[in-house]
């Protein structure tokens, strides 16, 4: 199970798109969008970019991955 938070539903609703419409736009099945929204599927970079363009939001704001370790920058 992917360990990330997905805010796709929020951005999709802002754009007034149904799962079906978004799925058609990015060329996947509605079930895939459904699982993405529930963070049950880790998409490819290609799909993530397509979704990001379709909902007009940056990838890093749609898919939130917890940071691993600490940044060493001082």
């Amino acid at each position: 199970m992917p360990e990330f938070t997905c805010r796709l539903k929020q951005y999709r609703q802002q754009k007034e798109l149904t799962q079906e419409q978004l799925a058609a736009k990015v060329g996947v099945r509605r079930e895939t969008i459904m699982r993405l929204e529930k963070a049950q599927y880790n998409p490819s970079l290609r799909l993530a970019v397509d979704i990001s363009r379709a909902v007009g939001a940056p990838i890093e704001e749609i898919f939130l991955f917890p940071e691993e370790g600490q940044s060493g920058d001082g």
């Binding site: 539903k9 149904t18 799962q19 060329g27 996947v28 099945r29 509605r30 079930e31 895939t32 459904m34 699982r35 929204e37 529930k38 049950q40 599927y41 998409p43 490819s44 290609r46 799909l47």
Partner: protein, 132 residues
């Protein structure tokens, strides 16, 4: 594809003829018909036909094929180890028959599992309802 094509899997029972033909004229070829059991997978393939093959579908397909192949290979591997000694019931011929049956059934299982697991991965994973 029509899911009813899965009924072709019943042809696998023709393999049982092998026991009869072996007794009559020592022919073991009919055991190969057990391979048709794999056609039961057409039932699941038929139910999946018409599905858009997006990246999740392809990932599941790869996962299903890998699991199916590993299972079949494990069975064949064990069969080679155990039956390769050629001493099943102290008879080389019986060992050969057992080996043919096991290998054919393993191949049938591989055919079936790759369709069945794809269907299961696609449908049984927790998903949730339809949301607008």
């Amino acid at each position: 594809m029509d899911p009813r094509l899965g009924l072709l899997g019943s042809l696998g029972f023709l393999g049982l003829l092998g026991f009869w033909t072996y007794r009559v004229d020592r022919t073991i070829f009919p055991f190969v018909f057990f391979l048709f059991f794999g056609f039961f997978g057409f039932f699941f393939e038929g139910r999946m036909s018409g599905t858009l093959m997006d990246e999740r579908y392809r990932e599941n397909q790869l996962r299903a094929r890998t699991t199916a192949s590993r299972t079949a290979l494990s069975i064949i591997f064990l069969a080679v180890l155990l039956l390769g000694q050629g001493r099943l019931m102290g008879n080389l011929e019986v060992t050969l028959i057992a080996f043919v049956i096991v290998v054919v059934l393993a191949l049938a299982l591989e055919l079936f599992l790759s369709s069945y697991l794809l269907y299961r991965y696609d449908h049984d994973e927790p998903a949730g309802g339809n949301e607008a």
